[in-house]
């Protein structure tokens, strides 16, 4: 196709048709400020409502200013990105935005990571000439997410994530004019909405309008309590991202430093959720093989495909949207909850501590995990299996608050027994990893043969929906993978329509899987960060001496000493769960 020639700030530019002014300007080194605009590159997630108007530029011959993010280049355009008219408009718009903002940066959880703050600084705003009313709303606290929409600037990124990417539909624009804001329908609480707590809204919010429920103070208090034994588990995706909070290159693995930091924070035992991930494979893999064998023996009542169940956002999503299909997902609990259940029984016994005095903390890349550990079925006599779930970001805050110089920490190992894991568990942290881990074990169990090559490249990548086949000794296992709930919905609708070809499907609520979780360090729209995290996860897998869950010696021991075998009665009691129809739990009139 013929290139379009135009001039931006007196520089000649040639671009492909369909290129926006914003991208054309970048091509020649001109960075036009944006606020509502959001582009997660290869993840194909884009938000350009043209609403904030910060990116306006002057186009010769046009009556008014044009938003660079959403205006396509046309031949012969003459564009100015920083003349007086543009600068004045941009500054005035920023002043307006700030005039309707609480400006409590000193105590805002987003301070230092806030795009509004950065932009005010970049534009050199030193006073706000407009006084007047501020739009204020009720603060809304859910088990995982806090909405403080006094700070909302109507960029609509959260709305785009919630509706277009996740197809959850919890958030949308409400009210008109000055009181317009993004909120659940009828401005009810998030807790009463269809929200899955995936936290993708939080991960893209440019301001402090959407943040996580912060448990760091509870943890400091628990750590200081001499009557409590406080232990911690860390999810696989955390080690691939935590370093970013300390200025390290994205994709830096900090597993050893993280373990050291947790120990210095005062955790009595530093364990790994990866241990529970290996356990999940034992249970879920056995469940898969059981259903497959039954299917191959001609049992028509068997439910296939089997769906993974380790992602709590996904679990709430299907409970809300597909209540008639509650018998399809695996009944295996998530690794976080398996860990909690084993820690408060098997491990509590081992160290002779009453479960009520054992505090289990999880560090997760996820906000839905905060909600998951509050679900009543994951408590025994009111004592939750996992007491607190904190995000990668909260862990970084804790480390900073407790005066630990992360950079200079030595590399340390996890404690045993709940710290031993295989490479199969680590890859739970990225899309495709759970199913790959399951295949590694299922293959060997099903065929009785040793896997020659443990890497299943066909299951990897960042494509939103993937389809792969694995040859199980002549039986072609059809595997589906989806990340992002919108993509999951498509696969689920196929199943509902009886069109699904798959035997097993892995679903992760967040784009990229847990590496892109709502609790991870903010990526600010850089897809390269997600890619680097994914690469690190696979590197950690390669680094591990053991790469198949059923080879984990402490898992083998756990079955010998305690559980018996996968899907045993004890396993069922401790490691499996059931699902609830939540389609009617949305309450409109409070």
């Amino acid at each position: 196709m013929e290139l379009i020639k135009l001039t931006i700030d007196n520089k000649p530019v040639e671009v492909q048709p369909g290129t926006t002014l914003l991208k054309a300007a970048r091509q020649v080194g001109i960075e036009i400020p944006t606020m509502c605009y959001f582009d997660l590159g290869d993840m194909k997630i884009e938000n350009k409502p043209g609403g904030c108007r910060l990116c306006v530029v002057e186009v010769e011959g046009r009556r008014n200013l044009a938003p660079a993010c959403a205006t396509d280049c046309t031949p012969g355009m003459v564009v100015r990105t920083h003349n007086l008219r543009v600068m004045n408009a941009r500054r005035t718009i920023m002043e307006l935005m700030l005039s309707d903002h609480p400006a409590d940066c000193l105590i805002c959880p987003k301070s230092g990571n806030c795009e509004l703050q950065d932009m005010a600084h970049k534009l050199g705003i030193r006073e706000i000439p407009f006084q007047g009313e501020k739009s204020t709303y009720r603060k809304d606290t859910s088990p995982a997410i806090i909405r403080d929409v006094d700070k909302c600037i109507m960029c609509r990124r959260c709305e785009m994530m919630c509706n277009e990417v996740q197809s959850v539909g919890a958030l949308s624009g409400v009210n008109r004019g000055f009181m317009a804001v993004v909120a659940p329908a009828f401005e009810m609480n998030l807790e009463k909405s269809v929200c899955t707590y995936c936290g993708q809204c939080v991960s893209v919010c440019p301001t402090g309008a959407l943040t996580e429920v912060d448990h760091t103070r509870n943890i400091i208090r628990a750590l200081a309590d001499p009557t409590k034994t406080v232990i911690v588990q860390t999810a696989p995706a955390v080690r691939a991202a935590l370093g970013e909070e300390f200025g390290m290159e994205p994709g830096t693995l900090v597993t050893g430093k993280m373990a050291a930091a947790l120990r210095r924070l005062g955790f009595k035992y530093v364990f790994d959720t990866d241990f529970a991930a290996d356990l999940t494979i034992m249970e879920e893999g056995t469940e898969l093989l059981g259903r497959l064998s039954a299917f191959l023996e001609g049992d028509k009542s068997v439910k296939l495909p089997i769906l993974t169940s380790c992602c709590p956002g996904w679990v709430k999503f299907f409970e809300t949207n597909f209540p008639e299909m509650l018998d399809i997902p695996s009944t295996a609990k998530s690794p976080q909850q398996m860990f909690g259940a084993i820690a408060k029984t098997y491990f509590a016994n081992k160290i002779n501590v009453d479960r009520k005095n054992l505090i289990v903390v999880s560090v997760m890349p996820c906000l839905a995990k905060k909600y998951e550990c509050t679900r009543p079925e994951f408590s025994t006599d009111g004592d939750p299996d996992v007491n607190y779930s904190i995000s990668t970001r909260e862990l970084a805050h804790l480390i900073k608050q407790l005066n630990i110089d992360f950079d200079t920490l030595p590399e340390e190992d996890f404690d045993k027994p709940l710290g031993e894991s295989t490479g199969a568990a680590v890859i739970f942290g990225t899309t495709g990893g759970v199913i790959e881990a399951a295949v590694r074990t299922a293959y060997e169990v099903y065929t009785g043969k040793q896997l020659e090559k443990v890497d299943f490249e066909q299951l990897r990548g960042l494509k939103s929906v993937r389809h792969a086949t694995v040859d199980l000794n002549g039986f072609e296992l059809h595997i589906g993978i989806a990340h992002g709930l919108g993509n999951a919905r498509k696969l689920l609708e196929d199943i509902r329509a009886g069109k699904s070809q798959f035997h097993a499907i892995e679903i992760m609520a967040c784009p990229g899987g847990c590496i892109g979780g709502g609790g991870q360090p903010f990526h600010h729209g850089h897809d390269s960060i997600l890619k680097a995290r994914q690469k690190a996860i696979y590197q950690e897998d390669v680094n591990k001496p053991l790469r198949k869950s059923h080879e984990n010696p402490d898992i083998i021991k756990l079955y010998e000493e305690f559980l018996g075998k996968p899907l045993s009665e004890k396993s069922h009691h401790l490691l499996h769960t059931h699902y609830f129809d939540r389609s009617k739990q949305v309450i409109i009139n409070d």
Partner: protein, 597 residues
């Protein structure tokens, strides 16, 4: 078909109905039937006559007698005197305000003399609930001509040559829009009629739909034929129940006559129309917001391009035209492009309907050729300013139009001229202000509307308009500074320059145009802390003239805040720091001793 000697046309527009025109209609019918005149006299409820100031209207045909301010009790006299005895009821005739004499024929009334009714041609003439009456006035002839004699391209060519431009406000050439939609390739396209008339005080679209719904249906079908659409949608606000009802009746009748539906007039062309109801958000008159609302989404605009002609309702090419635009189409086809383009100015052809309101004698709906001057509209058709007061300004284009003044009275009205002078055509609202109106308060008043009706999507409109309003509030309260005036102007310009849609791009017009044209009033408010029109309460001072005060104490006794002191039979004094400007003293003083300054 029955042939009648007399036709009694009773206005069935919303305004006249609110003043009991339905009762008048029923009374006329009953009396006629009591007198056994059913075969000679037909009573019809028509659409709006436009002269709402003098409603309810009853017109007697064929002699064109125009009765004004008719009451239900007048029905008997009209029948007995006029119909039976041939004597016009003088007291119900319109009185020319200047010559003080009765005018019986509406053609000779100042209000109608300069009008040229194209879009409103059938309003007030036919029964909108009877398709035969529409057909009798060349109705559906244009559709027939198009389907049997013209290719779609030829029809588009006629519309282009006629020079018709969108009557919704922006004035985009209608023929060109049709052509673009025609050229958008898609198996499904839509004709959308924008009947989301949201300007306060504007009611031309409602009147057309209430008075002549078939003209819009016919035009939509012609449009469908031209662009290749078989489906039409009318987006109409739910607050227009009468228009909705009449539209529904008209659609039903058209279907029965084979003028909507499959294979219209044996041409093989299929077209049908559905209604979509709006909930009354002003911004939904903006075409992209309207489409989102029809799709069940939040009614807010998106960037153009893509234009609806390329990607509209459900992502399909959709041709969106306003009611008044459509109402012009059949006449253009029937009378030809040359006839239409001979009316109007160089760039604005045909006529425009305006809703006259405010401090004007003849409030109502008028239609004049483009190029008519504001002076003609206000002083000849509108009959001048109420109570003999002085003309001060006229606001055109609805809440986001600008205020024009004395010096603009002789500019010919068309799209370009209004914009060049800081206002706009808009949908055709025209609100007249007299010397008693404070222009700062007027600007604040209009801004209130746009603040309320902004969708909130873009920053300049959402927060900017609110801040404009707050600055004006301070000025009205007497707290304004010269710096505030600079802020107002800069902010107003940025809002115009940087807002996403037409609402924000025009919302500061009332502020900016009054600043341009009434700068001294702003200065008076800010520097002298005075409101020249005496409208801004906070800037008023009630002062007792010591010469006139007799010391009766009536004012002091009635002051709710005890701001007035003075001995009996001695001049009293108002403490300005306590006074709340309620005006109680002013009303109680029998000696005109209290002045408002």
């Amino acid at each position: 078909m029955a042939k009648f000697k007399f036709h009694l046309l009773v206005c069935g527009g919303t305004g006249c109905r609110a003043s009991a025109s339905e009762e008048i209609f029923n009374n006329l019918k009953t009396i006629i039937s009591d007198k056994g005149l059913d075969k000679d006299v037909q009573v019809i409820m028509t659409g709006c006559f436009g002269f709402c100031e003098k409603g309810p209207i009853v017109k007697v045909m064929p002699d064109n007698t125009f009765y004004t301010e008719v009451k239900p009790g007048d029905a008997r006299e009209i029948i007995e005197e006029h119909i039976i005895k041939g004597r016009k009821v003088q007291r119900l005739l319109y009185t020319d305000p200047e010559k003080r004499e009765h005018v019986s024929d509406s053609k000779h009334m100042g209000f109608y003399k300069k009008q040229l009714r194209i879009a409103l041609r059938n309003c007030g003439f036919i029964d909108p609930e009877n398709i035969d009456e529409y057909i009798a006035r060349e109705g559906y002839q244009a559709l027939g001509t198009c389907l049997s004699e013209h290719t779609p391209e030829q029809v588009i060519d006629i519309i282009k040559k006629a020079g018709l431009r969108g009557r919704g406000g922006a004035g985009f050439p209608t023929g060109l829009k049709w052509e673009i939609t025609r050229k958008s390739v898609n198996e499904q396209k839509y004709v959308v009629c924008n009947a989301d008339e949201g300007d306060p005080g504007a009611f031309m679209d409602r009147s057309i739909l209430e008075g002549d719904p078939h003209s819009v249906i016919e035009a939509m079908a012609i449009c469908g034929y031209c662009i290749g659409a078989d489906k039409g949608l009318v987006y109409i606000r739910a607050e227009y129940p009468l228009a909705i009802e009449r539209l529904k009746i008209a659609i039903k009748q058209s279907r029965e006559y084979g003028l909507l539906g499959k294979d219209i007039l044996g041409s093989g062309f299929n077209f049908d129309i559905e209604l979509r109801y709006g909930a009354g958000a002003f911004v939904c008159g903006e075409e992209t917001a309207l489409i989102h609302s029809m799709e069940g989404l939040r009614g807010e605009p998106t960037l153009k391009p893509p234009f609806p002609s390329v990607s509209g309702y459900l992502g399909k090419p959709s041709n969106v035209n306003n009611v008044e635009t459509f109402a012009n189409i059949p006449v253009i086809i029937n009378k030809g492009a040359d006839w239409f383009s001979s009316i109007g100015t160089e760039k604005s052809k045909g006529t425009k309907v305006f809703a006259l309101a405010g401090k004007i004698n003849n409030v109502g709906l008028i239609e004049v050729p483009m190029g008519t001057t504001l002076r003609e509209v206000i002083f000849e058709i509108g009959g001048g300013i109420k109570d003999g007061k002085k003309f001060k300004a006229v606001q055109t284009g609805g809440p986001s139009g600008g205020c024009l003044t004395e010096k603009h009275l002789d500019i010919p009205i068309d799209y370009e001229n209004l914009v060049a002078n800081g206002s706009m055509m808009g949908s055709g609202g025209m609100i007249v202000m007299d010397e008693d109106n404070c222009m700062v308060s007027i600007a604040r008043f209009y801004l209130d509307f746009t603040i309320e009706e902004s969708c909130g999507k873009c920053t300049p409109c959402r927060i900017g308009n609110k801040r404009l309003g707050e600055i004006l509030d301070e000025i009205i309260k007497g707290n304004g500074t010269m710096e505030d005036l600079n802020k107002l102007r800069n902010l107003g310009q940025v809002i115009k320059d940087a807002s996403l849609c037409g609402l924000g791009q025009t919302s500061p017009n009332p502020v900016l145009s009054t600043m341009d044209n009434f700068w001294d009033e702003y200065i008076a408010h800010v520097q002298d802390k005075k409101c020249p029109s005496g409208q801004c309460k906070a800037l008023l001072q009630y002062i007792i003239d010591a010469e006139k005060c007799v010391g009766c104490t009536a004012c002091a006794r009635n002051c709710p805040v005890n701001a007035i002191t003075g001995e009996r039979k001695m001049a009293h004094l108002i403490d300005q720091s306590i006074c709340i400007k309620c005006g109680a003293c002013y009303e109680r003083c029998k000696f005109d001793a209290i002045e408002i300054k």
